[in-house]
Amino acid sequence: MKMHVTILAFGRLKDRFGGRSTLEVALEAPATLRQAIRTLEAGGEALGADVAVALNGTIMRGDGPLAEGDEIVLLPPVSGG
């Protein structure tokens, strides 16, 4: 069965996805956060160690299970101020 998650890209990562900031990804359930990232990276470069990943607003250093409708945020190096 397929499950669907939303991936938000910011900053320079938007350029990588053709200027889009919101991507919908379908995954075979059950799926994990890192599987979703690997699906996204397929056919392109890896995101890089300087990109942080958040799941539903919480920064995730490791992996974790995904649920239908989850929001994954890709956070490249920040430049506020």
């Binding site: 910011f10 900053g11 160690a49 958040a54 607003g57 506020g80």
Partner: protein, 139 residues
């Protein structure tokens, strides 16, 4: 108090918001967009974008943690959208009973702001070119 806004920041109002008769010192930081020249091309504006919920949450955490050691009132206002060179992009105001704590806390808050808040900026040049700022990996 945190404000993430697409409107110009009223600097005096941010300082007024932390003023209190228990606090004898207010320190602050006002960030202004620099009209840098890069290879003959001049920065005319910065365009800020944020993950609004995460950015507000991170700024609130930074302010609350600054207040943990003792009595302290704080306010952080940060712009989103296009901010022209010479305009204000961020204001931090800190009030404490005495000056030493206010100076120290202001520095910590501004340093953390640069590393922990999901906000990104794009430089817009006079030639029409645009480029994302380098930035710091999210701490």
């Amino acid at each position: 108090m945190v404000v993430l806004t697409g409107a110009p920041i009223d600097v005096a109002a941010v300082f007024d918001a932390v003023r209190d008769d228990a606090c004898g010192a207010i320190t602050g930081f006002v960030g202004v967009v620099r009209g840098d020249e890069v290879a003959g091309d001049r920065v005319v504006a910065l365009e800020y974008e944020a993950h609004a919920a995460m950015a507000v949450g991170a700024m609130r955490r930074i302010g609350e943690e600054a207040a943990r050691p003792g009595p302290l009132r704080w306010a952080i206002h940060h712009r989103t959208g296009r901010v022209a060179a010479g305009e204000v992009s961020v204001v931090v105001a800190i009030a404490t009973p005495h000056r030493a704590e206010a100076f120290a806390a202001c520095r910590i808050v501004v340093d953390r702001l640069k590393r922990e808040v999901p906000i990104w900026k794009r430089l817009h040049f006079s030639s029409g070119r645009a480029a994302w700022a380098e930035g710091n990996p999210l701490a």
